[in-house]
């Protein structure tokens, strides 16, 4: 998969008046990768995409595609194709005309275009639908037509701007798999924009987590999930329980943290912060709901937490216990369902246990909004 | 190049961007702003034969405006009573025509806007068709009807209401009917557009709460339709104050419209600066009146033309 064309962002700044949309972004995207920018809306990820596709001129810094600086090159001259959030299929053109629009621009004959359209329609599993109008297709079909239209231009880099956000949940999950398969088949670089961590985790080779114009962390999905670099990354990707406190002492790659509510707890320091975190720092410790398990009530220790149960719920594959947590946020515990009996503990104190390697400490910082 | 221009050309391409910018500039500056300024400038100059234009006699003067107020120098009267009378009569009559149109059109706009059904399309078509007919011909049609031996007089005399034909033209009734007729559509459509977007449930709710029909209109419909009403009134007022064809065709022989004075200055007296001054007076007065009304009724310029 090294055949693809890479994309580099070098010291990229994008400003709109006084507003800084992207702050000093440095990203290296390997050729043939499925790369996602993940972040809440308004974090600047779409702005980066528009800078890569050429609709926006960066205020500072460079966009390199395949090592070539794209400065001053318009969107119609760049080896990129963009799939728009609302797809932007041409409403008055038939499906096959939509798909082969780039060939029409290049001056291909109608016969050639028909042939190519049929090939692509087969690829996206819509054979024989070429003569319909986009408005006569379902949401998922339109989605696939948009992909085919972009692929028909034979781009080196395919840019996707939250293309699944308009679909319903079932279809979205199905399209994830399909997109990933298409990417593997065509072998070109995909740059994917999303605010849905599930999409990012399932499809991407690498993910950049963005917050307010800043890239917090670039890593593969597993690393981001298990070893987040910032409080934001830890809280934005997946459910997480937060414990605020102050570092008492650092022992190797572990830190003992005096938390505000739950006593002194031991945690692994996230890889990115090992060596920089020191005693006296404000810190946050994160433990996933599924990393907590029940322990005999009242057990003390640096990996035990005791708190009052607020309420409980049964979710099928797990029992969820919600306890009084730190900073007004509830502490969530997910106990896998093996068919065991489960009593209601509402109003009682319970003690939880965790493996220190599953807890991760990062410097105190902004959390993702719920 | 300033950054917003650069961005503009980036967005639209050099060729399309320049074409677009060129057309817009030609329109706004070359056709709208400069001609108006040029006319303003011209109105302050004396009426000179072409060779003397730009010569020593070509100086700024208030003479043309003074003429409207005081009449010709050394004239027998202290004031230009004739022209001033025409001026004020035109404004008052235009206001009357506007009110007449509003009263006539509000119910039909309301009806069209709040009724559903196929016949509404037919009504809309019937509204538009007369508007596609030439302005002169519409005035002509009214002249036939209001004429001495026209249909109305035949009916009136025939049914014994009048024993002699009534001179609608001399009494300016034909003129007002014609002006009202000419701009019906411009009153209906803005009001209709707004009322159409009014949720019928609001009216039902008001009725449900026991409001009589006039109160529903006063408290619910008219406040909502205000932008449309003011837009329609503005257009009808400006157009009827500036009308020329209808007064020429339907006006009585002795009563003039202010635009006819302007026309005479240009075509009969060949006094362009004088005509320009009169045109400026008309334009400025109308705009001030409309702006004052907009201020009173708290509507924006942006509502016009919706």
């Amino acid at each position: 998969m090294s055949a693809g064309v890479g994309v580099d962002l070098e010291n990229l700044w994008i400003r709109f008046g006084d507003f800084v949309a992207v702050r000093d972004a440095n990203v290296h995207i390997k050729g043939g990768d499925f790369f996602s920018f993940l972040g809440p809306s308004g974090c600047g990820k779409t702005t980066i995409l528009r800078a890569v596709s050429g609709f926006l001129e960066p205020s500072e810094g460079n966009v390199l595609i395949g090592g070539n600086n794209m400065k001053g090159i318009g969107p119609n001259k760049r080896p990129t194709a963009l799939i728009f959030q609302n797809l932007a299929l041409f409403p008055l053109m038939k499906v096959w005309e939509n798909i082969t629009f780039s060939m029409e621009i290049a001056g291909a004959s109608a016969k050639e275009r028909r042939k190519r359209a049929d090939e692509l329609l087969d690829m996206i599993a819509l054979p024989g639908q070429g003569d319909k109008l986009p408005s006569e297709l379902s949401g998922g079909q339109r989605q696939r037509v948009a992909i085919a239209r972009a692929l028909c231009a034979e781009p080196d880099v395919l840019l996707l701007d939250e293309p699944l956000s308009a679909l319903d949940l079932k279809l979205r999950q199905h399209m994830r798999t399909e997109l990933r398969e298409i990417q593997k088949r065509v072998g070109i670089t995909f740059i994917y924009i999303t605010h849905d961590q599930g999409e990012a985790l399932t499809m991407s080779d690498d993910i950049a987590v963005m917050r307010a114009g800043v890239i917090d962390q670039i890593a593969d999905g597993k690393t981001i999930y298990n070893d987040p670099a910032t409080a934001f990354a830890a809280s934005f990707v997946g459910e997480n329980n937060v414990f605020r406190g102050k570092v008492l002492e650092v022992k190797g790659d572990q830190a003992l943290i005096r938390t505000n509510r739950s006593g002194d707890l031991l945690s692994r320091i996230s890889t990115a912060n090992q060596g920089t975190m020191k005693a006296g720092d404000e810190a946050m410790m994160f433990i996933r709901p599924e990393a907590l398990s029940l322990a005999p009530t009242g057990t003390q220790g640096d990996h035990f937490v005791t708190a009052k149960v607020n309420h409980e719920e049964f979710e099928g594959n797990s029992f969820n216990i919600f306890m009084e947590g730190d900073g007004g946020k509830e502490l969530k515990v997910a106990i896998p369902n093996h068919g065991q009996s489960f009593d209601d503990h509402s109003g009682q104190d319970m003690t939880l246990e965790y493996d220190v390697n599953n807890a991760v400490a990062v410097p105190a910082g902004e959390l993702a909004a719920e | 190049m300033p950054s917003f221009l650069k961005e503009f050309f980036n967005r639209n391409g050099t060729l399309m961007g320049s074409l677009m910018l060129g057309l817009v500039l030609f329109w706004t500056v070359g056709l709208i702003i400069l001609p108006q300024l040029s006319m303003l400038d011209f109105s302050f100059r004396p009426n000179l034969p072409p060779p003397e234009i730009g010569g020593p006699k070509d100086i700024y003067t208030l003479e043309n405006y003074k003429y409207l107020i005081y009449g010709p120098e050394g004239g027998s009267q202290d004031y230009n009573a004739v022209d001033l009378k025409v001026f004020f009569r035109t404004l008052v009559a235009a206001v009357c025509v506007t009110l007449f149109n509003l009263i006539l059109c509000y119910p039909i706009a309301y009806y069209l806007g709040q009724t559903k059904g196929n016949h509404i399309r037919v009504f809309a078509l019937m509204l538009i068709i007369p508007y596609w007919i030439n302005e002169i011909l519409r005035a002509f049609a009214l002249r036939i009807i209001f004429g001495e031996s026209g249909v109305i007089n035949t009916l009136l005399v025939g049914s014994g209401i009048f024993d002699t034909p009534f001179d609608f033209i001399r009494n300016d009734i034909a003129l007002y009917a014609g002006l009202g007729y000419a701009y019906i559509l411009l009153m209906i459509f803005p009001i209709y557009n707004v009322i159409e977007s009014l949720d019928h449930n609001q009216i039902e709710a008001a009725r449900d709460l026991g409001a009589p029909w006039w109160r529903i209109h006063k408290r619910v419909v008219i406040p909502y339709a205000k932008p449309g009403i003011s837009s329609g009134c503005t257009m009808v007022f400006m157009l009827s104050a500036g009308a020329l064809a209808a007064p020429q065709i339907l006006g009585g022989p002795s009563s003039l419209w202010f635009t006819q004075l302007i026309y005479q200055q240009f075509n009969d007296n060949s006094d362009w600066p004088q005509g320009a001054a009169y045109a400026i007076v008309l334009l400025v007065t109308c705009i001030l009146l409309v702006l004052a009304l907009m201020r009173v009724f708290k509507v924006n310029m942006g509502d016009i033309g919706k």
Partner: protein, 423 residues
């Protein structure tokens, strides 16, 4: 329930009055085109005639006016649609702070009186012409040029309004998508934006042409050597009206109605096709839309057919029908009536003078014939309609005589005096 009924009835009465006001004049004007008296009138009905259509097509000035109107109309359509489109596009992307000012400027021509636009155009281009040192016959002082420029000033605003309404529904991402797929800005404009805007561009063009065709206020200052149809009509209407103008008006009305119905039928048809397409493939479509179905579901189509048949009948009968006999009859009747009246008048005068003579006989009979009912002006007797034209009864006599006394204009505007001339 009765009050409900009253409301409903009064709504329909109101609608009836309203549309009578709106359409009545046009209907009556159209009728006058087929009536034989030389002053356009619907009553009394004399003879069905088509001669006014003939008169119309022999009128050089009308024909020339139509030609000029079409030239001006085409120029105005091109210029104002282009400017309106550019103006609308600019409105969607102008700097927000400038937006309100810009909108005010481009909407202002709608509100500026047409007379003012005409004058300012004339004054401004005259000045440009002089600045460039060109003569009075230069391109810039050409009537066609000035009229197109003057009309486009405000017609472009109408076009802009029509276009911006559709442009608001345009997704700018479509243009970006085209650019992204390799199109140049011009290609994106031509292949994506233009097809989308086409319906609005067509309506704007039609609107612009109609507005240009009927414009009088602006054109009257700018037409120069190129009087448009409207200018010619205004001249005619101001200085004497004939049913030939009614004939022209009738044709315009008929054309308008025709195109309105065609348009209506088109809209219906498109809606039906759109409906059908929703659940049918292209192959099925052809079978689904049959001609009878189209007509049965489409009142506009029926009206169109009726109108067509009507036109054919009228034209057909016009070819064969000759009103000469009828006109001769009417004239004969008029002549008889006139004679009768004159006879009556003579009798009355004779009787009166006889009475007078009898009464004043003792004083010597110096004033012999002073007809009492006659008017106090010398003209009165000559032009009083009852001497020549008698379908009006005595009532018309006083009215006309009264008006002829006031001003010189009175006669020009007086229908009967014109009737006199052409009789």
């Amino acid at each position: 329930m009765t009050s409900d009924k009253i409301i409903r009835v009064s709504i329909w009465v109101y609608l009836g009055i309203f549309f009578a006001y709106l359409l009545g004049p046009l209907v009556i004007m159209s009728i006058t085109a087929f009536n034989s008296p030389s002053f356009p009138r619907a009553t009394p009905w004399e003879c069905l005639t088509f001669e006014w259509f003939g008169a119309l097509f022999q009128d050089e000035r009308i024909l020339n006016g139509i030609k000029n109107s079409i030239l001006v109309g085409m120029g105005t359509v091109v210029l104002s649609v282009a400017m309106g489109l550019a103006g609308a596009l600019m409105l969607t992307q102008i700097w927000p702070k400038l937006r309100a000012t810009y909108y005010t400027i481009i909407i202002a021509p709608i509100l500026i009186p047409g007379v003012v636009i005409g004058i300012s155009t004339l004054v401004f281009w005259d000045r440009i012409n002089r600045m460039l040192g060109l003569g009075a016959d230069s391109f810039l002082s050409n009537g066609l040029f000035l009229t197109i420029i003057g009309q486009s000033t405000f017609i472009a605003s109408y076009c802009m309004l029509v276009l911006v309404a559709r442009l608001q529904r345009y997704d700018m991402a479509l243009t970006e998508a085209a650019l992204d797929l390799g199109a140049t800005h011009a290609q994106a404009f031509r292949k994506v934006l233009m097809p989308f805007m086409m319906p609005a561009i067509l309506s704007a063009a039609v609107l612009a042409f109609l507005a240009s065709f009927e414009n009088y206020n602006t054109t009257t200052f700018t037409f120069g050597e190129y009087p448009t149809l409207t200018i010619e009509l205004a001249q005619k209407v101001r200085y004497g009206i004939t049913p030939a103008i009614s004939a022209l008006a009738f044709m315009i009305v008929a054309l308008t109605v025709f195109f309105a119905l065609v348009n209506e039928a088109n809209i219906k048809r498109k809606a039906m096709i759109a409906d059908a397409r929703k659940d049918a493939t292209v192959g099925e479509l052809a079978g689904k839309i049959e001609v009878p179905g189209l007509i049965s579901r489409n009142p506009a189509a029926i009206a169109l057919i009726v109108l067509l048949i009507g036109t054919v009948t009228v034209i057909g009968s016009a070819m064969t029908y000759s009103p000469d006999q009828c006109i001769a009859n009417v004239q004969e009747q008029k002549r008889l009536e006139t004679e009768k009246r004159i006879q009556e008048l003579r009798d009355r005068r004779a009787k009166e003078s006889a009475e007078k003579a009898a009464a004043e006989g003792a004083e010597g009979g110096a004033t012999q014939t002073a007809p009492k009912p006659s008017n106090n002006s010398g003209f009165g007797g000559v032009f009083a309609p009852n001497t020549l034209q008698n379908e009006e009864d005595g009532a018309a006599d006083e009215g006309v005589a009264g008006s002829s006394n006031n001003s010189g204009f009175g006669n020009v505007f007086d229908p009967n005096s014109i009737g006199n001339d052409s009789n």
